[in-house]
């Protein structure tokens, strides 16, 4: 029974990855909106874009990790 609950928990934790995707999309969309307004400044800001994406993505990866732990370690 406990193992089954762990699988349900893993599925719920997997939702976090999808929600983090919203965050990553938000970062990229706003970058694109800004870049189209001022294309000359866009190239200098790609590093910031990637840092922002990395931070948003980290939380999704955490939830993926929680799912993995629930499936294989707990």
């Amino acid at each position: 029974m406990e193992g089954d609950l762990a699988y349900i928990g893993a599925g719920l934790a997997g939702m976090g990855s999808g929600i983090a995707a919203l965050g990553v999309g938000n970062v990229a969309a706003n970058f694109l909106a800004g870049a189209l307004r001022n294309p000359s400044a866009a190239a200098s800001q790609t590093a910031t874009l990637f840092i922002g994406i990395a931070f948003a993505e980290a939380l999704g990866i955490f939830s993926f990790l929680v799912a993995l732990l629930l499936m294989f370690a707990v």
Binding site: I51, A54, F55, E57, A58, I61, F64
Partner: protein
């Protein structure tokens, strides 16, 4: 992981192609046997050696001819060098350039390991937390030690946000402290998690390819995922390196 053995047994009984998508990450001794001691040559050892040979071949052999019109290998070596050099200079400033060899080593190792892992039947070094946690902890220790050596206790000003209102500062200090210590965790898990998840997804689609009805879709999906993984392999190495530069900047110029 106990499920792998049962999966293999199940496959043997039913005759179907059943493999676990995480099977590819198992560390195996190269020359048979079951026990793994610290000196046992495993597939990790093999692919680390290959990664170092590839880096050596690219950077040393590639640029040793010093041609004015560079060959393809020399251009790649020069582009990689220039790319990281510019990144370190832009983010850490001129005095951060003494960390350029370290950052370059990190980038070349991670990007080579990521790309070698995409070769079918190979082993992805950076998909193991044991590898990435060591890399991230080294960055964390370097940043902390450099910060304290260069600035002494003034480095603790990183946690005391002087531009914020006085009442908020203790709260911010707690948040900054937590975020500082979570850095090696997110730094390492991002790299390993991305690589492991991507490779596992490819293997899951490969499992569907055995079913006749969906195999064209799954082969197309594998191709698409492989293209995405090529991008991810580079972007994750880039992100790891750029975050290393950002953390080093905090140690060199802790200006809050």
């Amino acid at each position: 992981m106990a499920t792998e053995a049962t999966g293999a047994e199940h496959a043997a009984e039913t005759g179907g192609l059943v493999f676990h998508p995480m099977d590819q990450f198992i560390v195996k001794p190269l020359f048979g046997g079951d026990t793994i001691a610290w000196y046992t040559p495993t597939n990790v050892t093999l692919w680390m050696a290959i990664a170092i040979l590839v880096i050596f071949g690219l950077l040393v052999m590639g640029s040793s001819r010093r041609a004015i019109v560079p060959s393809r290998m020399q251009s790649i070596a020069e582009m990689a060098y220039g790319f990281i050099h510019k990144m370190v200079e832009d983010i850490c400033g001129k005095d951060g350039l003494k960390f350029f060899p370290y950052v370059m080593t990190l980038f070349m190792f991670i990007v080579t390991a990521n790309f070698l892992g995409l070769i079918p039947m190979s082993f992805t070094l950076t998909s193991h937390f044991a590898v990435t946690v060591v890399l991230a902890l080294l960055v964390f220790l370097t940043v902390t030690i450099v910060g304290f050596v260069k600035h002494g206790t003034a480095f603790l000003g990183l946690f005391w946000v002087s531009s914020a209102p006085l009442g908020l500062r203790p709260v911010l200090a707690v948040i900054e402290l937590i975020s500082y210590f979570v850095r090696p965790v997110s730094h390492s898990i991002r790299l390993a998690g991305n690589l492991m998840a991507g490779h596992a997804v490819i293997k899951v689609f490969a499992g569907f390819a055995a079913l006749t009805l969906v195999s064209p879709v799954s082969v197309l999906a594998i191709t698409a995922m492989y293209g995405l993984e090529l991008l991810v392999a580079f972007v994750q190495a880039y992100v790891f390196t750029i975050l290393t530069c950002v953390y080093l900047k905090d140690a060199l110029h802790p200006s809050h």
